[in-house]
């Protein structure tokens, strides 16, 4: 078993014990990328020089006792819409090709303070707009479980890198499910925190009232540990929230006693693949065996989440992406006649089709004469959706939901019909509209050998409840360690590895 098969917590322990050095860990991540990237293409850029230099510094600090946390020396991949000082950050767009941020995102600063070593920047849908990572201007990422399938999106690169054991864990962002859906498709664990828990400073904005940075990892323990490292109140993000407690790992107890699990009937009806339905509902049975009480209920308003979400997300995107004008950074058209022509040509050549589609829709719903009918209406729908969740959380601690209607679709199947693609986000977008924390955990495989993920949604600031439920489920999950080839538990404590059992190259 290679170092990248270990969870971040396990690897961090070995590094602190002196069994492995931070440099060896970084070298191993780079070597794994060397082997896998030809197939997977999880990264937009790899930064071996930076990684090895950082690893040496970190190793020194571990040796002299300055660094002693769980992530010290552990390799991390960062989604390419999160700014890293001195390392190109492209948002998978021609618009930001070659852009080198003069500062790091707060979450990245926090991670580096904890001693994590950035290996590279991961692929994504352009400006995080998409559900498959196919709208990237730099090529598609393939699902490590089956190369003919998408990894999901928009954080497909981060999730594929973790699933393919190219790295210990990753940072990603979630505006409408961009952490949770690809985590489900890639069989990894991903957490979207309560809005405002992780500073958005340095995250290239898509929908500012929806965006959150969160971890993608091999298990629930790692998600909690990474969240502890990256969460902070930040004066540089005036929407970040000062939380009473930043202890998340304290929730990791193998016990679901007293947890009230709500199962919204509206999430398990038509449109949900039967295999996904069965695997997700099994999570409730497992938790009941551990002392939880599960009950079905009607959440209501579910069908309005997608239209409300796309109005709000596109409106915010059209405003946020107005900054890309070819003046201060990024792409500038080669030929233009005057300033306005430069703006227009730059934007028309620099943005891909999905980004333009959303900017157009957003500009329309905010325009004079349509603002009330569309934008204001969507904000009112958002209030009602939030109220529906408030009622639900008066009765339940955790809501159990699918992360997507099916396992990962095949490459090339999704982009033709935008409305159909947007429908795939039905189970994830409400958490963004209402600001709720939610985690995806692997909960089974479909008959085609693709992973299925279950989503556990909590009330605002109740990460500990969903982490506890997710952890308790994970401890009982018999599929953990299963590989698609072997089809049976490999008996390892670590989560399922795509190519284990296929005899794939393990460094």
């Amino acid at each position: 078993m290679g170092l990248m098969d270990l969870t971040a917590a396990e690897l961090g322990k070995k590094i602190r014990a002196g069994e492995v050095s931070a440099v060896e860990a970084a070298e191993e991540a780079l070597a794994r990328a060397e082997v896998k990237e030809g197939q997977i293409h999880a990264y937009i850029s790899l930064n071996p020089d930076y990684a090895l230099k950082r690893a040496k510094q970190v190793q020194k600090q571990i040796a002299d006792g300055t660094l002693s946390g769980p992530l010290a020396g552990v390799p991390v991949a960062v989604k390419d819409n999160i700014c890293t000082r001195g390392i190109p950050t492209t948002c998978a767009s021609r618009m930001l090709e070659g852009f080198v941020p003069p500062y790091s995102a707060r979450a990245v600063e926090n991670l580096e303070k904890a001693g994590a070593v950035i290996i590279g920047k991961t692929n994504m849908d352009e400006f995080a707009m998409g559900s498959t990572t196919e709208t990237s201007a730099f090529g598609v990422t393939r699902n490590p479980w089956n190369l003919e399938h998408v990894p999901g999106g928009s954080s497909g690169g981060s999730c594929a890198a973790v699933a393919a054991r190219e790295v210990s864990f990753a940072l990603a962002s979630d505006t409408g499910g961009s952490i949770r859906q690809p985590s489900a498709f890639c069989g990894v664990t991903g957490l979207k925190p309560t809005y405002g828990t992780v500073s958005r400073y340095g995250l290239v904005a898509y929908g500012s009232s929806l965006d959150q940075i969160g971890p993608v990892a091999k298990d629930v323990t790692d998600c909690a540990a990474v969240l502890e490292a990256i969460a902070s109140w930040d004066p540089a993000d005036s929407t970040s929230v000062k939380r009473d407690s930043y202890d998340f790992t304290g929730a990791l107890k193998d016990d679901a006693k007293g947890l009230r699990i709500g199962i919204p009937r509206d999430y398990f009806g038509a449109g949900l693949n039967p295999e996904v339905k069965e695997a997700v509902l099994r999570v409730a049975w497992v938790l009941e065996e551990k002392g939880a009480a599960a009950e079905e209920f009607d959440l209501s308003l579910v069908q309005y989440a997608i239209p409300a979400y796309y109005v709000i997300a596109c409106a915010e995107a059209s405003s946020n992406l107005a900054r890309f004008d070819g003046v201060k950074y990024g792409y500038r058209a080669a030929e233009y006649a005057g300033l306005h022509s430069m703006y227009k040509k730059t934007r028309s050549e620099g943005f891909g089709p999905e980004v333009k589609r959303r900017i157009m829709l957003g500009s329309f719903v905010l325009s004079s004469g349509y603002y009330d009918a569309y934008y204001r209406k969507a904000l009112q729908a958002r209030t009602l959706i939030r109220q529906a969740f408030d009622s639900a959380f008066a009765r339940f601690d955790v809501i159990l939901a699918p992360a997507a209607p099916s396992a990962a679709p095949r490459l090339g199947e999704s982009l033709d019909d935008p409305v159909r693609m947007y429908l795939g986000d039905i189970y994830t977008i409400s958490a963004n509209l209402a600001g709720l924390p939610a985690i995806t955990v692997p909960c089974g495989m479909d008959s085609a050998g693709l992973p299925i993920g279950a989503q556990l949604i909590g009330d605002c600031f109740e990460e500990k409840k969903i982490l506890r439920a997710a952890y308790a489920f994970e401890q009982a999950a018999e599929y953990a360690g299963r590989s698609p080839a072997a089809g049976k538990p490999a008996g390892e404590k670590t989560a399922a590895a795509p190519e284990a059992g296929k005899g794939g190259a393990q460094g």
Binding site: P102, Y103, Y304, S318, Y331, L361, S363, A378
Partner: protein, 100 residues
């Protein structure tokens, strides 16, 4: 049949969006926007009379601070290194004001 989006509407929106669309892109945008708006019209089924719009999950207010440079840490060279064009320590853009 979907909502009809006129040529004038696409023209107007592309001005707001600062995008110059090819004829083909305009046709595509008309079709896409029509379908999306049809779908979004579902929201009209909701009675929202008297419902406060929620632009933000938590109450937000203006955050004031003294007007002094803080944080950044980036130097002018580092910032200008990203400029598509720069000259004499400034961003360079096409001439916009003619002072005669």
């Amino acid at each position: 049949m979907g909502k009809t989006i006129s040529d004038e509407m696409i023209e107007h929106v592309s001005i707001l969006a600062q995008l110059e669309l090819s004829d083909e892109e305009k046709e595509q945008a008309k079709a896409d926007m029509g379908r999306m708006l049809d779908y979004i019209d579902q929201l009209n089924e909701l009675d929202t009379a008297g419902v406060e719009p929620m632009a933000h999950v938590f109450p937000v207010e203006n955050v004031f601070r003294e007007d002094v440079a803080a944080g950044a840490g980036a130097c002018r060279e580092e910032i200008l290194a990203n400029a598509p064009k720069s000259r004499d320590g400034a961003f360079q853009v096409p001439k916009t004001v003619d002072i005669g």
